[in-house]
């Protein structure tokens, strides 16, 4: 019987305590950030959409290898030494990036791709507002060389490679010649010895 009254009293009392608390909060300041008009602060290192600086990318494929989900696809073309402008930071450009694509529908925003990049070409940004109505819009192409450009580069490369080949061939020929000469010389010498 005592329990019955105690329960009743506790019920009423705790309800009143709760009501008091909610009443206090009813008149306290609210903390809402009204999003499109106001912005909740985002730290600069927040991992949202990736950004690639095409002028810094050397197509070393390290980001693509580090990516756990394989959402980065890179196509590259060998650059012709001498004819190629260097990267933005002054490094030598070994490869031309002909196609650099990140599928943000697949990306898991882990930031692993930014760590091995030797030139800091790929970066996470704080940009997160890019909802779309079509999924294809989430595939971002950062570098896309036009066919003409590609062709030109290929031709240059072909010429260069042909030159290199010729050079190599010439070298090899010269080497072979020298060797042959040396051989004949040696033979002659042995002959002479005899």
């Amino acid at each position: 019987m005592l329990n019955y009254f105690k329960n009743m009293w506790l019920g009423v009392y705790t309800v009143l305590v709760g009501l008091r608390l909610t009443l206090i909060h009813l008149f306290s300041r609210n903390v809402t950030v009204q999003y499109p008009d106001e912005r909740y602060p985002i730290p600069p290192n927040a991992r949202n959409r990736l950004y690639l600086d095409p002028e810094l990318c050397d197509a070393c494929l390290r980001c693509a290898k580090a990516c756990p989900v394989n959402c980065i696809s890179i196509e590259s073309l060998r650059a012709v030494p001498g004819l190629t402008p260097p990267l933005k930071n002054g490094d030598k450009r070994n490869l031309w990036v002909t196609h650099y694509e990140i599928d943000f529908a697949k990306c898991c925003f882990c930031g692993l791709c930014t760590e091995p990049c030797p030139t800091n070409a790929i970066n996470t940004t704080t940009e997160f507002e890019y909802s779309t109505t079509k999924r294809e819009d989430l595939i971002y192409t950062f570098v896309k060389m036009s066919d003409e450009e590609k062709k030109e580069k290929e031709e240059q490369l072909a010429i260069y490679q042909a030159e290199q080949k010729k050079k190599k061939a010439a070298e090899a020929e010269a080497k072979a010649k020298a060797e042959a000469e040396a051989k004949t010389k040696a033979v002659n010498e042995t002959k002479n010895d005899n």
């Binding site: 809402t32 950030v33 959409r49 529908a105 697949k106 925003f109 997160f128 909802s131 109505t133």
Partner: protein
């Protein structure tokens, strides 16, 4: 669609009255969106955080409903597995027209991190139900989901109920359905 079925007859050059009626109806649908209280995976936690005081999803007129019959749109918040896919399809079919779908996060966009080796993951919820808005992120920030919501509201506002009208086409061109 109740009232809409009767009004959906062809009205050539619907005129001002119909235009206004259409605007009001679209306004109602856009501003009062009840969503299905339904979470799948990691994104569901951010989805809960959107309802939290800092972001307050209710500002957009969105109210959670637990029954799909009363919901206007469903947020696919997380990985859809093959085991779950049939249920999601059924949930979508249980919802009453007009209904919309927001695909939240990489997983429901196209399988996300699980697209390559996930033998039990459906690679994109758009393989089973039509998706209106894709929100990228893994998981998307709460603001990103709110942005997706604004995009959906814009889409609804520009829907043509009675007939395709020139004005809408023009406005679409002008606005480009982009929010910035």
């Amino acid at each position: 669609m109740g009232l809409l079925n009767r009004l959906n007859e062809p009205f050539e050059g619907g005129g001002i009255v119909l235009g206004t009626v259409e605007d009001i109806l679209n306004w109602g649908r856009a501003k009062s969106d009840w969503y299905l209280q339904f979470g799948l995976a990691c994104c569901a936690i951010e989805f809960m955080a959107v309802n939290a005081p800092h972001f307050d999803f209710m500002r957009f007129g969105t109210i959670p409903r637990t029954s799909p019959r009363q919901a206007d749109f469903i947020i696919i918040s997380g990985t859809v597995t093959l085991k779950m896919a049939e249920r999601i399809k059924r949930l979508y079919e249980q919802m009453s027209e007009p209904k919309y779908v927001i695909s939240m996060g990489s997983c429901s966009n196209c399988g996300g991190p699980y697209w390559e080796h996930g033998y039990h993951v459906l690679k994109g919820v758009d393989r089973i139900i039509p998706v209106d808005v894709y929100v990228p992120g893994c998981p998307p920030r709460p603001e990103a989901l709110e942005e997706g919501m604004i995009l959906l509201q814009k889409k609804i506002r520009h829907e043509a109920i009675f007939n395709k009208r020139k004005r809408i086409a023009e406005e679409d061109k002008k606005l480009g359905l982009n929010i910035k």
